[in-house]
């Protein structure tokens, strides 16, 4: 069994204060804020979330070296796993990506048309890839889990899925590299600081917008990396175990 950083008797707000990135898990679990000084166990039970499973996910988000052991997974109720993943998919596709896309469009529109078009194209292709990636999981892996739990057999094998499970973070990191290293005219704001008559002009916030967006992208990349760890290190072994039991 792994030792977790937090236990269900800990105060939820203290945990979030120490590890603000855990706010992301609240959203993925559908736990609203305003939980006062309640413990993790209390808040979880109020929102129909299994506290052990919640703590397992929090461990993935707060501990970069975390590697769940088989015993830990066996001792954790997993009925919340698929709903958790579905909710995360929805959050990425319908909230984070459109938000980033909106800001990216603003920046792209200030670039020379050729560069702006290339960036927009890159991002829209990326969104399509993410959509397909999630749709594939929702069409194959999740029904497979329901089948196994319901005692039905199917031809799907989780190992095939894990072997071909592509990563969604690389392109986001490429996008960040492109924005801060290679975008032409991102320092156009500097040129406009002084007008032709020598008066200081109102500073343009083009660079600030780009920096805000980079933070948004980096945060999404981190979230997606944790999401992939949940799938590879928790969902994978869990389904393998189910497949084994189904064969007996």
């Amino acid at each position: 069994m792994n030792d977790f950083l937090y236990k269900d008797t800990d105060n939820l707000s203290a945990m979030i204060t120490a590890q603000p990135q855990l706010l992301l898990t609240l959203s993925h679990f559908g736990i609203p804020m305003g939980f006062g000084d309640k413990t993790i166990a209390q808040v979880c039970s109020e929102h129909g979330v299994d506290a052990k499973f919640f703590l397992l996910i929090c461990e993935v988000y707060s501990n970069d070296q975390f590697m769940p052991q088989a015993a830990t997974l066996r001792a954790t109720p997993m009925q919340g796993l698929v709903p958790y993943l579905l909710r995360s998919h929805d959050y990425y596709l319908n909230r984070r990506l459109p938000h980033i896309g909106h800001h990216l469009d603003k920046i792209a529109n200030m670039l020379p048309p050729r560069a702006g078009k290339a960036i927009k194209q890159f991002f829209s292709t990326y969104i399509e890839e993410v959509r397909e990636h999630f749709a594939h999981e929702e069409k194959t892996v999740y029904p497979h889990i329901s089948n196994l739990i319901g005692g039905k057999s199917d031809k799907f094998k989780i190992n095939d899925f894990l072997a071909s499970h592509g990563n969604l973070e690389d392109k986001l990191s490429d996008l960040v590299q492109i924005i801060f290293k290679y975008l032409p005219g991102c320092d156009a704001s500097k040129a406009r600081h002084v007008t032709t008559d020598g008066e200081p002009a109102a500073p343009s916030h083009a660079d600030d917008d780009a920096i805000d967006m980079i933070f948004d992208i980096l945060q999404l990349a981190l979230d997606l990396r944790k999401h992939a760890i949940v799938e590879d290190k928790i969902l994978g072994p869990f389904v393998k175990q189910l497949e084994k039991t189904a064969k007996l």
């Binding site: 050729r114 560069a115 078009k117 290339a118 960036i119 890159f122 292709t125 990326y126 690389d170 392109k171 990191s173 490429d174 996008l175 590299q177 492109i178 290293k181 290679y182 975008l183 032409p184």
Partner: protein
């Protein structure tokens, strides 16, 4: 940064002997080459600090140094070679030398050779890397790029690794944007 040594020698047993001699040194031993096919491209990509080569394969030191000007070139001799052919080499190893003497020769040459650190840490793409990048951005496979540029697939993959390291961009789509932004390709060449 460790000095890099490339051995070019057709005899496997001699290569093995040299590797055993150099294994405990502070040198980074690159994967040996058994022939000079594609050697100039390999040198361009690998940029060794020390090249140990059998002069019967190639004794044109000036040509060998084209890719890496600061590289030390050591002749590896085990048959009679005319003295004149050896005079442009920085040092000569005879396989009848003692292991200690061979080690000494390589280390001395290594100490003298200016490191190619500057070239390696540069973030500018070389001409060859740019050529590969253009083909990558057009959507060609490594195999297609290799045949188009007349190099081995292995060389293409090494160039690609360098491109990724230098630009920080991993995906083909990202490299395509990079190529477009740097006016290396036109919008209509993108497939």
């Amino acid at each position: 940064m460790k000095r890099k040594v490339l051995i070019v020698e057709p005899s496997e047993i001699i290569v093995e002997g040299l590797l055993a001699t150099l294994v405990h040194t502070d040198l980074k031993i690159l994967k040996p080459e058994y022939s000079i096919d594609d050697l100039s491209n390999r040198l361009d990509v690998l940029r060794p600090d020390i090249l140990i080569i059998n002069p019967t394969l190639n004794d044109n030191v000036t040509e060998l140094r084209k890719a890496a000007r600061s590289m030390a070139v050591v002749a590896l001799v085990y048959q009679y070679v005319k003295q004149a052919r050896l005079k442009r080499f920085d040092a000569v190893i005879d396989i009848r030398d003692s292991q200690q003497a061979i080690l000494q020769t390589v280390l001395e040459v290594g100490a003298k050779a200016a490191t190619s650190d500057a070239a390696m840490s540069s973030h500018e793409l070389t001409r060859r890397e740019t050529a590969v990048l253009i083909e990558v951005a057009k959507g060609l496979s490594n195999k297609e790029i290799a045949s188009r540029l007349n190099v081995s697939v292995f060389t293409v993959t090494t160039h690609r690794k360098n491109i990724v390291r230098k630009t920080g961009i991993k995906s083909v789509a990202g490299l395509t944007v990079y190529a477009l932004l740097n006016n290396l390709i036109d919008e209509d060449t993108v497939i």
